[in-house]
Amino acid sequence: MRKGSVIALLFCFGWWGVRAQDPLVEGLRAYQAGDLERARVLVDSAVSIPSHEEDAEAWLLRGFVYKDLYKQRSPDSDPDTLRSRALRSLDRCRALDTERTFAQNAEQAYQFVARSFYNDAAKALQDGREDHAIDQFDRFREAMAGLPEEGDLDQREVDFLNALGTAYTRRYNEDRLDTVVFDKAVSAYERVLQKDTGNYGANYNLATLYYNHGVYNIQQLGVDNDLLSIELIQQVSKELFKRALPYMLKAHQMRPDRKETLLGLEGIYYSLQDDERSEEFRTKFEALPPDNE
């Protein structure tokens, strides 16, 4: 909601002029003038006095002030405190607003602030700050749970977890000895599949993750390996290839004409020493028209 709308709302209640010393009215004036810092001090004061502590409109204004403070914050300020206060205020407004006079405005503002956590989570993933991304996504989910209709929260969580899995996979590809990020990538994709067993990307990426790990182990064989360790490494890789297989089969079942799953199955079966099935999927791949992606 824009500032003009809030102001118009307050005019309707006839406060203007008759309660000029009211910190809420003064806070509104400051908000109207764009002096958000002064508006914050005044509206904080307003909601702590008996005449406004149960006043939905006062909490709505406070929510807007903190939302705008968040939007105009300096780079070194703490965005989470501003957003947290905005959300609490808007939530309080909705709780007090039994007539639902401000419901639409409060919910729109609430959703804007809540979704900013999701946007920050996405940006953190792009910047390689996975822990911060998880924290921001948790805040987003917690905030969205406060809305009567959570909307596409499940889909957002699936998208986030897929992106998180990809981010951890990227890290693992940079350092194949880092099994901690490998496990985190697996966990992210498994959580996607718990919510959506038919998620193509999670099935394919999880299969590829296991397969590549198995191949990597074997690639490390060299002059220092004796016969026993060759066998042990093969056994470990075999288990990884076997874990990859059902996910790649599922992905292939979902999109039988995708080259990548045909090649994935060809590679997995080859590494499991099943030449017949490996050849079967290679033949299927070669039968696809060249423009199939």
Binding site: N205, I218, I230, Q273
Partner: protein
Amino acid sequence: MLMASFDLQRDPEDDTTAIVQASYIYNIAKLVEWKDAGMRQGNFVIGVVGGANLYQELIKKYATKTIGKQPIEVRKLPRSVQVDQCHILFVGENELDLMSGIYETVRDRSTLVITQYAGALEDGAVVNFVKAEQVVRYEMSLPNARKHRLEVGSTLKQLAHRVIE
């Protein structure tokens, strides 16, 4: 969404079977003794017929190493029954039509022939790669080793999938 990718033409570095086989071949070289005095000097020659990825893996990881004091030399041999004198000769699974001729060529040589096809030990190979329980293993024939004046170490025998005594 970022997807990992597979490559149709299997690169040598992704050819898990070739990587494992190369590692086995290096260990076999270390665990077998060539009784002929002439074979214990000069380069230690590993010849490869077929098996392009195996050859590349041997070059990449083992060609600068030694067996005892003998520097390893990995040779890619032409597709022919007339093979060079080698300590170890690997013949790939796509070259089966050459096998009988190759056995004939190396019959009196101190050459350890390694293959990968069913019935190879009965035909004359000393070591044969097999697929067992979804991994690469090897089987070996001690009579064939003796014919080529090779002494097989106990560890190599103990860890084989099958040994013909």
